[in-house]
Structure formats: structure tokens, C-alpha cells
């Protein structure tokens, strides 16, 4: 039924979400906001995976399985990334990426 | 079709209604949409009206268990007490504190109510009588409890109040922690029955073991059922896990700044959530609407289902009215150091036990016995470590613990 919606519409949403996420990841000063941008990027990729799965190999679940792997990696990335942010905040009292420019802590 | 057929099997009303709409020359999607809207309104009405009865019942039973009278002024036996409360809450002034974050302050109660209404959709009341028999049913239920924790966190943050924020943190830590044993005890049931859809779970439990024992999951895996029961005590924020409203420590949880109807929504969520958790317990472990003659007269399923759910709910109320509150460190320790490892062991027991012999009946006996053994081993280990803990404290503080421990 959902095949009546053209595939390119879903891909356009994915592209839009990716661009917004990219802007968020590049333009924000706050480390947590950058992380949110990266989560949007991963979501955009997942939309594409699931859409291709639905429209090109509807009898298989390859795209969905990959999307679940991406989901798990996104969660691991968020967990470690936020732990780093908390740790940096504790030692340097800031989470602005412009202020965190020393290679040694 | 005649009216008796509908009384015998109410799940036929939906398809019949759809046919009637289609016969008027309507587009199929319009007919589906109308059917869905009516279904949604039914779910909402059932949830709200059951809440009215439930709040009265809970207050009355808790009062009687604690040798009090409970509500007895409004109407006979205080039956109209909840209606009186609703009128009061509707006409109460709604205060938004200074410095509150208005958007999240108003969004938080809506998320709480959304959670209970969405969970209500997957409860199968009788054979086929379910809002949506999702193929991901049980995982959907687990996912929805995440919405409630977001709501609690939002309420705590938006209130700009230290008690509310601390309460929000605590309740989220509690809900999160106990979601793990909750999900994994459900996983044990899914391994055995091979489906996540709630109605199919009830159908699967209709098979008889050795031809006479009802194949309910509580018979096959009593320990998993016990773990699930403990987890729903915590998920429903009930004593002994009601740290949310530890008055002496944090006043009342994330909802202290709320008043009027917005407070009422939190209150509603608390009561209806326990009912829904009891319904899920009845569906997953007590066979749902299964009972004698349910094949001939599916309408009987409604009675069986509510009887089972009410028994679970009474057990929840009983525990709530009896036990004192745990400390937060005891609660978290119990979850992560006892419940989570034990639940993983139970999952492994069920997974391995389901493969021991080709005969499902014998496997059920093996899993059941292994469950009971695991329960006693756990009790033994926990008891020993608690005794050792007491010994250590005794040694550290001579003079205390003179009374028998």
C-alpha cells in the first residue's frame, strides 16, 4: 500500500534530515548540541536504509537489520560521547568545543 | 446477523460495522478511518471510566487493610467520591510557578496521559477484542514506559523547583532500572510462546499441558512471573518502591508544582498505569481471557480477563498497603545486583529448557522445576549475603543491634 508513495519522497526527507543534522553538527558550539546533530545524521541514514528495503527488496529484511545495527552503534556512540562530555565538564568546567582545544588535559 | 451472535462473540462487531459502512457506497479508507476513530474513542472512554472506579476501589481497600474507613461521605459507601474530586480539581485554580519553563511544564502531563492511553490499545479483553493486535505488542508496551520517564523528567525540570527535579531524577532512575527485569521476564515468556502479539499470547496459552494442566506461563515459569510482578510494583511506583512520593524526603516527586487538572492527570496516570500493568501480567502470565467454555462463548473471556486482572491488582494494593518504603540505595542495589542477573539466568533456563526434548509438555515441566530451583537458590544467596551484611555492621558498631535481628 505504501508503495503508492514515490520512493524519492522518502529519500528527500532523508536528505533534508541529513542536511539539517550536518548544519547542527558543524555550527553549534555546545558539545551536546553537536551530538544531537550527529544523532539526526544517523536517523537520516536509517530512513534511507528502510526505504530502500521497502521499495527494492520488499520480501527481505536486510535494510531493517542494518538499521538496527546502526541504532545500536548510535546508542553506544551517544553513551561514550556523553560520558566524555561529562568528564570534560568536570575537569574544565565548560562544554564549548571552542574552549576545548588542548591536546593534553 | 442477529444480536445474540454479537453478544456471544463481540469481536465480530468491528468487521460487521465495516461491512455496513462499505454497503453504503463509502470509500474503503473512509470506512476504516471511521472504524478506527470509534475504536480510539472506545479505548479512551474505557480508560477514563475505569479510572473513576479504580481510584475509589484503591482508596477503600487500602483504608480497610490499614483499619481505616476510607471515603464514605459522597454517595453510598463513598462511591461518588472520585466524581466529587473531579469537580473539585476542575474548579481549582491552576498555578504556573514563576520561572517555570512553560512549554515543557504543559507538555509533561500530556505525555503521561499519552503513555497510559497508548498502552491500553494492546490489552486483549476477550478473544480478538483488542485495540490493535500489534505484532510487536510486548516491546511496544516496554517502549511506551520510556515516554512516561521522559514526561517525569520534563515535569521535574520545567517546574524550576529543587524537589521536583530531584524527584524527577529519582523516578527516572527507578523506572529505567526496573524496565530491564521487566523486559527480560517478558522475553522469557516470548521465547516459550513464540509471539509478541498480545492476543496471540493469550491464544497460545490455551493449550493444555498433558491434556489437563492449563498451559499458562505462570505454571511454566513461576520465577519469571514473580520477577515481572516485582518489576511492575516498581514500574507502577508503588510501595515498597514509591520513592517518587517519599514525603519525608522529597515532598511529592516531580509533580509538586502542579495543581488543578494538570495534577489530576498525574494522579490518573498513577492509578491507570497500575491497572494496565496488572492487565499485562494477566495477559502474559495468567492466560489472558482463557478459561472454560471460552471457545463457545468468547464473551466469557471479558469476565475471566477482568477477574484475573483484578486479582493481580488486589495483590498490588495489598503490597502497597502493607510494606514500608525502601531506601533508594536498597532499591537500586536490589534491581541491579539481584533482579537483573537472575532474570538473565531465567531467560537462559527457558531458552535451553525449550530445547531439551522434542516434547513440549516435558520441556514445560523441566523449565518449571528449574525455575523453582533457581528461585530457592536465589533466596539462599541473597539471604546469606544479607546476614553477612548484618554481621559486618554488628562488628562495626558494637552495642547497636542488641535486639534480635
Amino acid at each position: 500500500m505504501s508503495a503508492t508513495i514515490p520512493l524519492s519522497w522518502f529519500l528527500l526527507v532523508g536528505a533534508g534530515l541529513f542536511s539539517i543534522g550536518l548544519y547542527g553538527a558543524l555550527a553549534r558550539r555546545n558539545a551536546v548540541a553537536v551530538l544531537m546533530g550527529i544523532e539526526l545524521l544517523l536517523n537520516a541514514v536509517n530512513i534511507n536504509l528502510v526505504a530502500f528495503n521497502r521499495y527494492i527488496v520488499p520480501q527481505q529484511v536486510t535494510g531493517q537489520v542494518f538499521a538496527i545495527f546502526v541504532l545500536a552503534i548510535a546508542a553506544a556512540e551517544a553513551a561514550v560521547g556523553l560520558a566524555l562530555i561529562i568528564s570534560i565538564y568536570r575537569s574544565r568546567d565548560t562544554v564549548n568545543l571552542e574552549d576545548i582545544d588542548l591536546l593534553k588535559g | 446477523m442477529n444480536i445474540f451472535e454479537f453478544i456471544r462473540d463481540p469481536s465480530q462487531i468491528g468487521p460487521w460495522f465495516n461491512e455496513v459502512l462499505l454497503s453504503t457506497g463509502m470509500q474503503p479508507w473512509v470506512a476504516n478511518l471511521i472504524g478506527d476513530i470509534i475504536g480510539v474513542l472506545l479505548v479512551v472512554i474505557v480508560v477514563l471510566s475505569s479510572a473513576i472506579m479504580l481510584i475509589w476501589l484503591e482508596r477503600k481497600i487500602a483504608a480497610r487493610l490499614q483499619d481505616r474507613l476510607g471515603p464514605n461521605r459522597a454517595g453510598r459507601y463513598g462511591l461518588l467520591q472520585t466524581l466529587a474530586d473531579i469537580v473539585k480539581l476542575l474548579t481549582k485554580e491552576d498555578v504556573t510557578p514563576d520561572g517555570a519553563d512553560r512549554v515543557s511544564f504543559n507538555l509533561a502531563p500530556a505525555l503521561m496521559v499519552m503513555q497510559i492511553i497508548m498502552v491500553a490499545a494492546i490489552i486483549p479483553v476477550a478473544s480478538g477484542l483488542v485495540g490493535a493486535n500489534l505484532s510487536v505488542g510486548l516491546l511496544y508496551f516496554v517502549a511506551m514506559s520510556g515516554i512516561a520517564s521522559i514526561g517525569a523528567l520534563m515535569a521535574g525540570w520545567a517546574s524550576n523547583n529543587k524537589y521536583a527535579l530531584l524527584g524527577g531524577f529519582r523516578v527516572v532512575a527507578q523506572l529505567m532500572s526496573y524496565e530491564i527485569p521487566l523486559a527480560f521476564s517478558l522475553l522469557a515468556a516470548v521465547i516459550w510462546t513464540g509471539t509478541m502479539a498480545t492476543n496471540d499470547l493469550a491464544i497460545k496459552q490455551g493449550e493444555l499441558l498433558f491434556g489437563f494442566i492449563p498451559g499458562w506461563n505462570i505454571v511454566v515459569m513461576p520465577f519469571a512471573a514473580l520477577i515481572f510482578f516485582i518489576s511492575i510494583l516498581a514500574e507502577g511506583e508503588r510501595a515498597p518502591f514509591d520513592l517518587l512520593e517519599a514525603e519525608s524526603e522529597i515532598v511529592a516527586g516531580p509533580n509538586i508544582e502542579y495543581s488543578g487538572l494538570k495534577f489530576a492527570w498525574f494522579y490518573l496516570q498513577f492509578f491507570v498505569n497500575s491497572l494496565l500493568l496488572a492487565c499485562i501480567f494477566a495477559t502474559v502470565f495468567l492466560g489472558g481471557w482463557q478459561g472454560p467454555f471460552v471457545d463457545q462463548f468468547p464473551i466469557l473471556g471479558v469476565g475471566y480477563f477482568f477477574a484475573k486482572s483484578l486479582i493481580v491488582l488486589l495483590a498490588l494494593m495489598w503490597v502497597r498497603a502493607t510494606y514500608p518504603r525502601l531506601r533508594i540505595d536498597q532499591m537500586m542495589t536490589f534491581c541491579w545486583k539481584v533482579l537483573v542477573p537472575v532474570t538473565l539466568v531465567v531467560v537462559l533456563i527457558v531458552a535451553i529448557g525449550a530445547r531439551v526434548t522434542p516434547d513440549r509438555n516435558i520441556n514445560a515441566v523441566i523449565i518449571s522445576v528449574a525455575n523453582i530451583v533457581a528461585l530457592f537458590v536465589t533466596l539462599g544467596i541473597v539471604g546469606r549475603s544479607l546476614r553477612r551484611d548484618v554481621e559486618r555492621r554488628k562488628a562495626a558498631l558494637p552495642g547497636a543491634y542488641t535486639a534480635q535481628v
Binding site: 553513551a79 | 497508548m118 490499545a121 522475553l187
Partner: protein
Amino acid sequence: MVLANFQFILILALVGLALPFIGVGVAWLLRPKKPNKLKSSTYECGVETYGDAWAQFKAQYYLFALIFVIFDIEAVFLFPWAVAYGGLGFYALLQVVIFIILLFDGLIYAWHTGALKWQ
């Protein structure tokens, strides 16, 4: 079937989200509206509130959330396996036992380092 369920759940979510606002709207028509400074000040035990509540909290809560996230993902992987388990062989069981043991390691590490201890 999937889309029929989707429509139901979507309508339910919208109604569930709208219902509290409708209720609050009805109450708005009925209730008194007399705010004043004292009434809308932050609730505390009688004394004036000092500072705002958006203070720093301890990292303990974060650690528990962390362990929760890992186990949540584990559940997402194990549920479809549990549904398929009836038609799978011994090999599937072995793989999942390894999977669970690998993640159990993480819990043992957390236990060992005292991250599970509430201070």
C-alpha cells in the same frame, strides 16, 4: 494489516496527546484566575527559594542510565530472536548464549568497579 494498525496507533497518539489539553481547556473555563506573586513562587518549606533549581547533579544517575541503555539495546536484539526461536536450531541458541555472556561481562565490570553502588 501493518498500515491499518499504524492508522489506529497514530490516531490514538494524537487523541492521547490532545486529551489533557482539552481537559485543561475545560478547566480554564471553570476555574478562578487570580494569580499573585506569592502564589506563583516556587514551593519550598516556608523559606525563600535560593537560586534556581537547575543545579548540577551527581554523575551516579548518568551511570545507571548508561547501563540501562546497553541492556535496552540487548532487548531489542533478543526479542525478534525469541519470536523466531521455535524454528531455529541449536546453533541459534549457542550464539545467543555467547551474546548474553558478552554483555554480562559489562555488568560484572560495573559491579566490580562499584558503579552499581549508590552513594
